[in-house]
Symmetry: C2
Subunit: 274 residues, 2 copies
DNA sequence: CAAATAGTGTCTCTAAGACAATATCAC
DNA sequence: GTGATATTGTCTTAGAGACACTATTTG
């Protein structure tokens, strides 16, 4: 009969084969485009951070930022660390989207990935600036479904356009897992991760949980509405949007002036549970 | 300059330290209790499968069924395999609830766990029977919150009562992650996994996605309502429940007779997307 | 008939969508 | 004043909760 102490000192985890564990992070940001004319409102674009792979495998293709789990951290901390290393910015929010563990998903061997989605405000990126080499870029995202139940993910940066085709594999919680039909030049199974991350983003945006993370501390309700419309890919009547978020925001005394029309009151997120 | 082939043949994953990866599964079942009197309807109990640990660490304490990930399977397949090995039954449904990777969560070393929740119908268990040793048992589950924002998880089997206290750590999607205040005799961090699994179960039950998995192919609407009430821990007016699920079910020609009151029509789940 | 569940009809209330109207600035 | 956005008010409609009522069986 062993004591627990004896047992543990004799225990050899190394006797069993183990996978390598990584995290891959889909980091999203919303950028205001150029105003088409003064006094018109700026359009928003949803952007995703991608890294061009410098080495094999999938050399030269684009992939999500990610890296190996270290012994002294949780997978969530690992995901945060990856984004901070890559952008210099700590994300406003981060959440898991799934585990990818198909035996042949990585040609280097047995590697399973914990996928996360994170949100970065444009403001924080502007403050830090970007000293990235040109191997890290923000791609504009488009994600739509056609009549055949297929989903089209298009990432655009300058002349580069990556177009992946996917279909639904399973649905749990508000989340959807996808199967890749064409990876469109996106490395590994990352096209599926990105699609799943987008569906997670939309699911969370439904109850206004995460849209604030794209904006600075204070914001106009119109700016908040544009974020919601950009993520959900819908358009909302201002009167209805204001009523729906009214429980989640509180007024400040500040106004935004000088835009060529009626000044807009600045709001901040209400902390109390609605 | 290497070719991809050369690169891969020289690649040594073993150069990096790797964690062991397990899955732990919270398997739920709903059992009809004895009728208090003839012609009265039977009450339901929510049950959770637990295993008494035969070895160190946490020897003699109760834990979720689980095991190490094998090289030729996904984590989801691993979870399915564990439940089938333990019960002889393939779950009607299975879904992920989170990854547990705190560095010191397992005294044996660096072990991260993929947690799943699965649903088993009482019918399937009754058909297979249980040849388990007495180290695998179904515990009755109670999960409530008090006014201080604390959550109380109570597992009962015969004389054995395990009572854990938890609080909310984070909320994403419909899911909630918990922090353990007292583990109540539940091994590892499994009390937190169970709490999270229950919140996942409730979240999924909201839109009637999983309640059918607790029942046989055909069922009465009252039986379906009892399942919903048991999981959500609420009571619903029959008229309203019938209206709400009407889009998810379709009639059969069968009736249940001989219960001392008006016969109930049997329904089955409607396959078409509502 | 009594006890019990099965099943239907309808009133109310809330929240979301549609739309009209007013307010306020920069030029 | 004009062009643009900011903000408010209200009509309509869909869906959930409450509740009263009818239907059908076994003993």
């Amino acid at each position: 009969m062993n004591s627990e102490k004896e047992f543990l000192s004799n225990y050899r985890l190394e006797d069993y084969e183990r996978p390598s564990v990584t995290t891959d992070v889909a980091a999203f940001m919303i950028r205001q485009e150029e105003k088409s004319s003064y006094r018109k409102i700026a359009e928003n674009k949803l952007l995703l951070l991608m890294i061009r792979r410098g080495g094999h495998p999938f050399k030269g293709m684009w992939a999500l930022p990610g890296g190996f789990l270290q012994k002294d951290e949780t997978v969530e901390q690992c995901a945060l660390r990856e984004i901070t290393e890559e952008t210099g910015v700590t994300p406003a929010s981060i959440m898991p989207v799934g585990v990818y563990s198909a035996p042949n998903r990585d040609p280097r061997g047995w590697i399973i990935s914990n996928a996360y989605v994170s949100i970065i405000s444009e403001e924080s990126v502007r403050q830090i600036g970007s000293d990235d080499a040109d191997d890290a870029q923000w791609f504009a995202v488009s994600f739509t479904s056609d009549d055949d139940g297929r989903y089209h993910l298009t990432l655009t940066y300058g002349e580069t356009e990556l177009h992946a085709v996917l279909e639904i594999e399973s649905q749990h919680f508000g989340r959807t897992a996808f199967r890749i039909i064409e990876n469109g030049g996106i490395a590994f199974d990352h096209a599926a991760i990105i699609a799943s991350a987008l569906s997670a983003l939309r699911s969370e945006a439904k109850n206004y949980d995460i849209i604030f993370d794209f904006l600075p501390e204070t914001f106009t309700l119109t700016a908040l509405q544009k974020v919601q419309e950009t993520i959900m890919n819908v358009s909302i009547l201002p009167a209805n949007f204001r009523r729906m978020v009214s429980g989640y925001v509180e007024e400040t005394d500040e106004f935004v002036r000088g835009e060529g029309h009626r000044p807009a009151k600045l709001y901040r997120r209400k902390q109390s549970a609605q």
